[in-house]
Symmetry: C2
Subunit: 211 residues, 2 copies
Protein backbone atom coordinates (compact mmCIF):
# COMPACT_ATOMS: atom_id res chain seq x y z
CA UNK A 1 0.00 0.00 0.00
CA UNK A 2 1.22 3.48 -0.89
CA UNK A 3 1.19 5.64 2.25
CA UNK A 4 1.10 9.39 1.68
CA UNK A 5 1.48 12.01 4.40
CA UNK A 6 0.44 15.52 3.28
CA UNK A 7 2.40 18.34 4.88
CA UNK A 8 2.03 22.12 4.59
CA UNK A 9 5.47 23.70 4.70
CA UNK A 10 4.36 27.33 4.86
CA UNK A 11 2.73 28.83 7.97
CA UNK A 12 1.63 25.50 9.42
CA UNK A 13 -0.66 25.31 12.44
CA UNK A 14 -1.88 28.91 12.37
CA UNK A 15 -4.57 28.20 14.96
CA UNK A 16 -1.79 27.67 17.51
CA UNK A 17 -0.54 31.24 17.07
CA UNK A 18 -1.89 32.23 20.48
CA UNK A 19 0.52 29.85 22.22
CA UNK A 20 3.43 29.25 19.82
CA UNK A 21 5.50 31.63 17.69
CA UNK A 22 5.75 31.11 13.93
CA UNK A 23 9.13 29.43 14.31
CA UNK A 24 7.84 27.22 17.10
CA UNK A 25 4.79 26.26 15.07
CA UNK A 26 7.06 25.14 12.22
CA UNK A 27 9.22 23.12 14.61
CA UNK A 28 6.20 21.58 16.29
CA UNK A 29 4.64 20.67 12.93
CA UNK A 30 7.93 19.03 11.92
CA UNK A 31 8.05 17.08 15.19
CA UNK A 32 4.53 15.76 14.58
CA UNK A 33 5.42 14.86 11.00
CA UNK A 34 8.45 12.88 12.17
CA UNK A 35 6.33 11.06 14.77
CA UNK A 36 3.77 10.12 12.11
CA UNK A 37 6.44 8.98 9.64
CA UNK A 38 8.07 6.84 12.32
CA UNK A 39 4.75 5.24 13.23
CA UNK A 40 4.03 4.48 9.56
CA UNK A 41 7.50 2.98 9.07
CA UNK A 42 7.00 0.78 12.12
CA UNK A 43 4.03 -0.85 10.38
CA UNK A 44 6.37 -2.00 7.61
CA UNK A 45 5.18 0.55 5.05
CA UNK A 46 7.37 3.21 3.43
CA UNK A 47 5.70 6.61 3.72
CA UNK A 48 6.07 9.44 1.25
CA UNK A 49 5.53 13.10 2.12
CA UNK A 50 3.26 15.15 -0.14
CA UNK A 51 4.54 18.65 0.62
CA UNK A 52 3.49 22.09 -0.53
CA UNK A 53 7.15 23.08 -0.77
CA UNK A 54 10.68 21.83 -0.05
CA UNK A 55 11.04 19.96 3.25
CA UNK A 56 13.85 17.91 4.72
CA UNK A 57 12.81 14.43 5.68
CA UNK A 58 14.40 11.04 5.37
CA UNK A 59 11.66 9.77 3.04
CA UNK A 60 10.70 10.44 -0.59
CA UNK A 61 9.10 13.87 -1.03
CA UNK A 62 6.54 14.81 -3.67
CA UNK A 63 6.07 18.57 -4.02
CA UNK A 64 2.66 19.85 -5.10
CA UNK A 65 1.70 23.37 -4.14
CA UNK A 66 -1.97 23.07 -5.04
CA UNK A 67 -4.66 23.00 -2.34
CA UNK A 68 -4.79 19.80 -0.29
CA UNK A 69 -7.74 18.16 -2.05
CA UNK A 70 -6.28 18.70 -5.51
CA UNK A 71 -2.84 17.46 -4.51
CA UNK A 72 -4.26 14.33 -2.85
CA UNK A 73 -6.56 13.62 -5.78
CA UNK A 74 -3.58 13.79 -8.14
CA UNK A 75 -1.90 11.10 -6.03
CA UNK A 76 -5.05 8.97 -6.02
CA UNK A 77 -5.27 9.30 -9.80
CA UNK A 78 -1.64 8.30 -10.16
CA UNK A 79 -1.77 5.28 -7.88
CA UNK A 80 -5.34 3.97 -8.03
CA UNK A 81 -5.31 3.14 -11.72
CA UNK A 82 -5.53 -0.37 -13.05
CA UNK A 83 -2.24 -1.29 -11.41
CA UNK A 84 -2.67 0.47 -8.08
CA UNK A 85 -6.14 -0.64 -7.13
CA UNK A 86 -5.12 -3.95 -5.62
CA UNK A 87 -2.73 -2.61 -3.02
CA UNK A 88 -4.34 0.77 -2.52
CA UNK A 89 -3.34 4.20 -1.30
CA UNK A 90 -3.52 5.46 2.27
CA UNK A 91 -3.43 9.12 3.22
CA UNK A 92 -2.49 9.95 6.79
CA UNK A 93 -2.47 13.52 8.08
CA UNK A 94 0.84 14.84 9.42
CA UNK A 95 -0.63 16.22 12.67
CA UNK A 96 -1.82 12.95 14.20
CA UNK A 97 0.59 13.29 17.07
CA UNK A 98 -0.87 10.35 19.00
CA UNK A 99 -0.65 7.87 16.12
CA UNK A 100 1.00 4.59 16.97
CA UNK A 101 1.82 1.65 14.69
CA UNK A 102 -1.01 -0.42 16.17
CA UNK A 103 -3.82 1.83 14.94
CA UNK A 104 -2.13 2.60 11.62
CA UNK A 105 -1.64 -1.12 10.97
CA UNK A 106 -5.36 -1.57 11.62
CA UNK A 107 -6.15 1.11 9.03
CA UNK A 108 -3.86 -0.45 6.44
CA UNK A 109 -5.15 -3.99 7.07
CA UNK A 110 -8.87 -3.26 7.32
CA UNK A 111 -10.82 -4.58 4.36
CA UNK A 112 -13.09 -2.35 2.30
CA UNK A 113 -12.87 -0.32 -0.88
CA UNK A 114 -12.50 2.74 1.31
CA UNK A 115 -11.54 2.73 4.99
CA UNK A 116 -12.08 5.95 6.93
CA UNK A 117 -10.64 7.27 10.16
CA UNK A 118 -12.88 10.14 11.29
CA UNK A 119 -11.36 13.07 13.11
CA UNK A 120 -12.96 15.43 15.59
CA UNK A 121 -15.23 18.05 14.10
CA UNK A 122 -16.30 16.12 11.01
CA UNK A 123 -12.81 15.73 9.58
CA UNK A 124 -11.15 12.82 7.81
CA UNK A 125 -7.87 12.20 9.59
CA UNK A 126 -6.80 9.24 7.49
CA UNK A 127 -8.18 6.86 4.91
CA UNK A 128 -7.17 3.93 2.77
CA UNK A 129 -8.65 3.62 -0.71
CA UNK A 130 -8.64 0.69 -3.10
CA UNK A 131 -11.39 1.93 -5.41
CA UNK A 132 -10.24 3.64 -8.65
CA UNK A 133 -13.03 6.24 -8.57
CA UNK A 134 -12.56 7.51 -5.03
CA UNK A 135 -11.59 11.15 -4.62
CA UNK A 136 -11.40 13.60 -1.73
CA UNK A 137 -12.87 16.97 -0.84
CA UNK A 138 -11.46 18.17 2.45
CA UNK A 139 -13.56 21.31 2.68
CA UNK A 140 -16.25 21.35 5.38
CA UNK A 141 -17.62 18.18 6.93
CA UNK A 142 -15.24 16.06 4.92
CA UNK A 143 -16.05 12.82 6.74
CA UNK A 144 -19.71 12.96 5.72
CA UNK A 145 -18.81 14.20 2.23
CA UNK A 146 -16.32 11.36 1.78
CA UNK A 147 -18.93 8.82 2.85
CA UNK A 148 -21.29 10.31 0.27
CA UNK A 149 -18.60 10.06 -2.42
CA UNK A 150 -17.95 6.43 -1.48
CA UNK A 151 -21.66 5.64 -1.69
CA UNK A 152 -22.01 7.34 -5.04
CA UNK A 153 -19.17 5.31 -6.59
CA UNK A 154 -20.51 2.09 -5.08
CA UNK A 155 -17.55 1.52 -2.77
CA UNK A 156 -17.71 -0.69 0.34
CA UNK A 157 -16.91 1.43 3.37
CA UNK A 158 -15.23 0.51 6.66
CA UNK A 159 -14.44 2.76 9.60
CA UNK A 160 -11.57 2.51 12.06
CA UNK A 161 -12.67 3.79 15.47
CA UNK A 162 -9.59 5.22 17.19
CA UNK A 163 -9.24 8.01 19.73
CA UNK A 164 -5.55 8.32 18.89
CA UNK A 165 -6.10 8.68 15.17
CA UNK A 166 -9.15 10.93 15.66
CA UNK A 167 -6.93 13.47 17.40
CA UNK A 168 -5.45 15.94 14.95
CA UNK A 169 -3.60 18.78 16.62
CA UNK A 170 -4.86 22.16 15.47
CA UNK A 171 -5.79 24.22 18.50
CA UNK A 172 -4.41 24.95 21.96
CA UNK A 173 -6.87 22.54 23.63
CA UNK A 174 -5.46 19.75 21.45
CA UNK A 175 -2.09 20.20 23.16
CA UNK A 176 -3.70 18.68 26.27
CA UNK A 177 -4.01 15.42 24.35
CA UNK A 178 -0.36 15.48 23.28
CA UNK A 179 0.81 16.11 26.84
CA UNK A 180 -1.55 13.44 28.22
CA UNK A 181 -1.14 10.63 25.70
CA UNK A 182 1.87 11.40 23.50
CA UNK A 183 5.33 9.89 23.87
CA UNK A 184 7.25 11.12 20.85
CA UNK A 185 8.96 14.20 19.51
CA UNK A 186 5.81 16.33 19.59
CA UNK A 187 5.35 15.79 23.31
CA UNK A 188 9.06 16.35 23.95
CA UNK A 189 8.84 19.62 22.04
CA UNK A 190 5.98 20.87 24.20
CA UNK A 191 7.64 19.81 27.44
CA UNK A 192 10.91 21.46 26.39
CA UNK A 193 8.96 24.61 25.49
CA UNK A 194 7.64 24.77 29.05
CA UNK A 195 4.12 23.43 28.60
CA UNK A 196 2.40 21.41 31.26
CA UNK A 197 -1.10 20.36 32.20
CA UNK A 198 -3.09 22.51 34.57
CA UNK A 199 -6.43 21.90 36.23
CA UNK A 200 -8.59 24.98 36.53
CA UNK A 201 -12.10 24.73 37.89
CA UNK A 202 -12.18 21.00 37.25
CA UNK A 203 -11.15 21.39 33.61
CA UNK A 204 -7.77 20.50 32.20
CA UNK A 205 -5.89 23.11 30.20
CA UNK A 206 -2.29 23.85 29.29
CA UNK A 207 -0.03 26.36 30.92
CA UNK A 208 3.40 27.55 29.86
CA UNK A 209 6.21 28.45 32.21
CA UNK A 210 8.12 31.71 31.79
CA UNK A 211 11.28 31.10 29.86
Amino acid sequence: MQVIVPFATESPKTRLEGVLSATERREFARAMLEDVLEAVRATGHAPRVLATGPVEADVPIVIDDRPLSEAVNAQLDAHLGADGTASGVAVVMADLALATPVELAELFAESGDVVFVPGRGGGTNAFAARHPDFYVDYHGTSYLDHRTIAREIGADVSVVDSFRLSTDVDEPTDLVEVLCHGDGRARDFLVDAGFSLETTGGRVTISRSDE
Copy 2:
Protein backbone atom coordinates in the same frame (compact mmCIF):
# COMPACT_ATOMS: atom_id res chain seq x y z
CA MET B 1 -19.53 -7.93 35.07
CA GLN B 2 -21.44 -5.25 36.93
CA VAL B 3 -22.00 -2.28 34.66
CA ILE B 4 -22.73 1.02 36.37
CA VAL B 5 -23.79 4.21 34.59
CA PRO B 6 -23.51 7.33 36.79
CA PHE B 7 -26.12 10.00 36.07
CA ALA B 8 -26.58 13.48 37.54
CA THR B 9 -30.30 14.20 37.79
CA GLU B 10 -30.02 17.86 38.81
CA SER B 11 -28.87 20.58 36.38
CA PRO B 12 -27.12 18.21 34.01
CA LYS B 13 -24.94 19.48 31.16
CA THR B 14 -24.57 23.05 32.40
CA ARG B 15 -21.87 23.79 29.82
CA LEU B 16 -24.56 23.50 27.13
CA GLU B 17 -26.54 26.38 28.62
CA GLY B 18 -25.58 28.64 25.73
CA VAL B 19 -27.46 26.47 23.25
CA LEU B 20 -30.07 24.51 25.24
CA SER B 21 -32.54 25.59 27.92
CA ALA B 22 -32.54 23.88 31.33
CA THR B 23 -35.49 21.70 30.32
CA GLU B 24 -33.81 20.81 27.03
CA ARG B 25 -30.57 19.96 28.77
CA ARG B 26 -32.43 17.55 31.04
CA GLU B 27 -34.16 15.93 28.07
CA PHE B 28 -30.92 15.71 26.11
CA ALA B 29 -29.09 14.18 29.06
CA ARG B 30 -31.89 11.61 29.39
CA ALA B 31 -31.69 10.80 25.67
CA MET B 32 -27.96 10.17 25.96
CA LEU B 33 -28.50 8.03 29.07
CA GLU B 34 -31.04 5.89 27.22
CA ASP B 35 -28.67 5.49 24.28
CA VAL B 36 -25.87 4.37 26.59
CA LEU B 37 -28.13 1.95 28.48
CA GLU B 38 -29.33 0.43 25.23
CA ALA B 39 -25.77 -0.01 23.96
CA VAL B 40 -24.78 -1.71 27.25
CA ARG B 41 -27.80 -4.01 27.11
CA ALA B 42 -26.93 -4.99 23.55
CA THR B 43 -23.60 -6.37 24.82
CA GLY B 44 -25.54 -8.81 27.00
CA HIS B 45 -24.86 -7.00 30.26
CA ALA B 46 -27.53 -5.55 32.55
CA PRO B 47 -26.67 -1.93 33.40
CA ARG B 48 -27.58 -0.16 36.61
CA VAL B 49 -27.90 3.60 36.95
CA LEU B 50 -26.06 5.30 39.81
CA ALA B 51 -28.09 8.49 40.13
CA THR B 52 -27.80 11.53 42.34
CA GLY B 53 -31.61 11.56 42.72
CA PRO B 54 -34.77 9.85 41.52
CA VAL B 55 -34.83 9.05 37.81
CA GLU B 56 -37.16 7.01 35.65
CA ALA B 57 -35.39 4.32 33.70
CA ASP B 58 -36.20 0.73 32.90
CA VAL B 59 -33.17 -0.56 34.82
CA PRO B 60 -32.25 -0.85 38.50
CA ILE B 61 -31.42 2.53 40.05
CA VAL B 62 -29.05 3.15 42.94
CA ILE B 63 -29.42 6.62 44.45
CA ASP B 64 -26.34 8.23 46.00
CA ASP B 65 -26.21 12.01 46.23
CA ARG B 66 -22.54 12.23 47.13
CA PRO B 67 -20.01 13.62 44.64
CA LEU B 68 -19.23 11.33 41.70
CA SER B 69 -15.94 9.93 42.96
CA GLU B 70 -17.37 9.02 46.37
CA ALA B 71 -20.45 7.41 44.89
CA VAL B 72 -18.45 5.36 42.41
CA ASN B 73 -15.94 4.30 45.05
CA ALA B 74 -18.80 3.06 47.24
CA GLN B 75 -19.91 0.87 44.34
CA LEU B 76 -16.37 -0.41 43.78
CA ASP B 77 -16.09 -1.22 47.49
CA ALA B 78 -19.40 -3.07 47.39
CA HIS B 79 -18.67 -5.12 44.28
CA LEU B 80 -14.90 -5.60 44.15
CA GLY B 81 -14.61 -7.53 47.39
CA ALA B 82 -13.56 -11.14 47.57
CA ASP B 83 -16.62 -12.20 45.58
CA GLY B 84 -16.71 -9.46 43.00
CA THR B 85 -13.12 -9.39 41.87
CA ALA B 86 -13.44 -12.20 39.37
CA SER B 87 -16.16 -10.66 37.25
CA GLY B 88 -15.37 -7.04 37.87
CA VAL B 89 -17.15 -3.71 37.75
CA ALA B 90 -17.38 -1.39 34.75
CA VAL B 91 -18.31 2.27 35.00
CA VAL B 92 -19.54 3.94 31.81
CA MET B 93 -20.40 7.63 31.69
CA ALA B 94 -23.97 8.54 30.72
CA ASP B 95 -22.96 11.14 28.12
CA LEU B 96 -21.12 8.86 25.70
CA ALA B 97 -23.65 9.55 22.98
CA LEU B 98 -21.65 7.74 20.30
CA ALA B 99 -21.20 4.50 22.26
CA THR B 100 -22.12 1.37 20.35
CA PRO B 101 -22.17 -2.23 21.58
CA VAL B 102 -18.99 -3.07 19.62
CA GLU B 103 -16.73 -0.73 21.60
CA LEU B 104 -18.42 -1.43 24.92
CA ALA B 105 -18.05 -5.18 24.37
CA GLU B 106 -14.35 -4.57 23.76
CA LEU B 107 -14.10 -2.72 27.07
CA PHE B 108 -15.89 -5.47 28.97
CA ALA B 109 -13.86 -8.27 27.31
CA GLU B 110 -10.40 -6.68 27.43
CA SER B 111 -8.11 -8.40 29.91
CA GLY B 112 -6.32 -6.47 32.64
CA ASP B 113 -6.86 -5.63 36.28
CA VAL B 114 -8.00 -2.21 35.15
CA VAL B 115 -9.05 -1.29 31.60
CA PHE B 116 -9.31 2.41 30.79
CA VAL B 117 -11.13 4.31 28.08
CA PRO B 118 -9.62 7.80 27.98
CA GLY B 119 -11.82 10.76 27.12
CA ARG B 120 -10.88 14.06 25.55
CA GLY B 121 -9.20 16.52 27.86
CA GLY B 122 -7.62 14.02 30.22
CA GLY B 123 -10.87 12.42 31.35
CA THR B 124 -11.78 8.83 32.07
CA ASN B 125 -14.91 8.08 30.06
CA ALA B 126 -15.21 4.46 31.10
CA PHE B 127 -13.25 1.77 32.85
CA ALA B 128 -13.49 -1.84 33.93
CA ALA B 129 -11.86 -2.89 37.19
CA ARG B 130 -11.14 -6.33 38.56
CA HIS B 131 -8.65 -5.30 41.25
CA PRO B 132 -10.03 -4.99 44.80
CA ASP B 133 -7.90 -1.94 45.65
CA PHE B 134 -8.77 0.23 42.66
CA TYR B 135 -10.54 3.50 43.36
CA VAL B 136 -11.37 6.62 41.38
CA ASP B 137 -10.71 10.35 41.64
CA TYR B 138 -12.49 12.16 38.83
CA HIS B 139 -11.14 15.60 39.68
CA GLY B 140 -8.64 17.09 37.22
CA THR B 141 -6.64 14.95 34.81
CA SER B 142 -8.41 11.83 35.95
CA TYR B 143 -6.96 9.59 33.26
CA LEU B 144 -3.40 10.21 34.40
CA ASP B 145 -4.42 10.06 38.07
CA HIS B 146 -6.20 6.75 37.52
CA ARG B 147 -3.15 5.32 35.80
CA THR B 148 -1.08 6.40 38.81
CA ILE B 149 -3.55 4.75 41.18
CA ALA B 150 -3.40 1.54 39.13
CA ARG B 151 0.39 1.56 39.22
CA GLU B 152 0.47 2.16 42.96
CA ILE B 153 -1.78 -0.82 43.70
CA GLY B 154 0.19 -3.04 41.31
CA ALA B 155 -2.66 -3.49 38.82
CA ASP B 156 -2.12 -4.53 35.19
CA VAL B 157 -3.49 -1.81 32.93
CA SER B 158 -5.03 -2.01 29.47
CA VAL B 159 -6.40 0.82 27.35
CA VAL B 160 -9.24 0.72 24.83
CA ASP B 161 -8.56 3.21 22.03
CA SER B 162 -11.94 4.38 20.72
CA PHE B 163 -12.99 7.67 19.18
CA ARG B 164 -16.63 6.88 19.94
CA LEU B 165 -16.03 6.17 23.61
CA SER B 166 -13.58 9.08 23.95
CA THR B 167 -16.37 11.47 22.99
CA ASP B 168 -18.28 12.67 26.03
CA VAL B 169 -20.78 15.39 25.28
CA ASP B 170 -20.25 18.44 27.47
CA GLU B 171 -19.92 21.50 25.26
CA PRO B 172 -21.56 22.94 22.14
CA THR B 173 -18.69 21.77 19.90
CA ASP B 174 -19.36 18.21 21.06
CA LEU B 175 -22.79 18.41 19.44
CA VAL B 176 -21.00 18.33 16.08
CA GLU B 177 -19.90 14.79 16.90
CA VAL B 178 -23.43 13.70 17.81
CA LEU B 179 -24.85 15.13 14.57
CA CYS B 180 -22.01 13.62 12.51
CA HIS B 181 -21.69 10.15 14.03
CA GLY B 182 -24.72 9.51 16.24
CA ASP B 183 -27.75 7.46 15.30
CA GLY B 184 -29.80 7.23 18.48
CA ARG B 185 -32.10 9.28 20.66
CA ALA B 186 -29.51 11.97 21.35
CA ARG B 187 -29.06 12.73 17.66
CA ASP B 188 -32.83 12.61 17.11
CA PHE B 189 -33.28 15.10 19.94
CA LEU B 190 -30.84 17.56 18.37
CA VAL B 191 -32.35 17.23 14.90
CA ASP B 192 -35.86 17.69 16.32
CA ALA B 193 -34.63 20.76 18.21
CA GLY B 194 -33.51 22.30 14.92
CA PHE B 195 -29.77 21.72 15.07
CA SER B 196 -27.75 21.05 11.96
CA LEU B 197 -24.13 21.14 10.87
CA GLU B 198 -22.76 24.31 9.37
CA THR B 199 -19.43 25.00 7.72
CA THR B 200 -18.02 28.43 8.45
CA GLY B 201 -14.60 29.40 7.20
CA GLY B 202 -13.67 25.77 6.66
CA ARG B 203 -14.62 24.76 10.21
CA VAL B 204 -17.66 22.76 11.16
CA THR B 205 -20.01 24.12 13.81
CA ILE B 206 -23.64 23.74 14.76
CA SER B 207 -26.48 26.05 13.90
CA ARG B 208 -30.03 26.06 15.17
CA SER B 209 -33.06 27.01 13.14
CA ASP B 210 -35.65 29.43 14.50
CA GLU B 211 -38.50 27.55 16.07
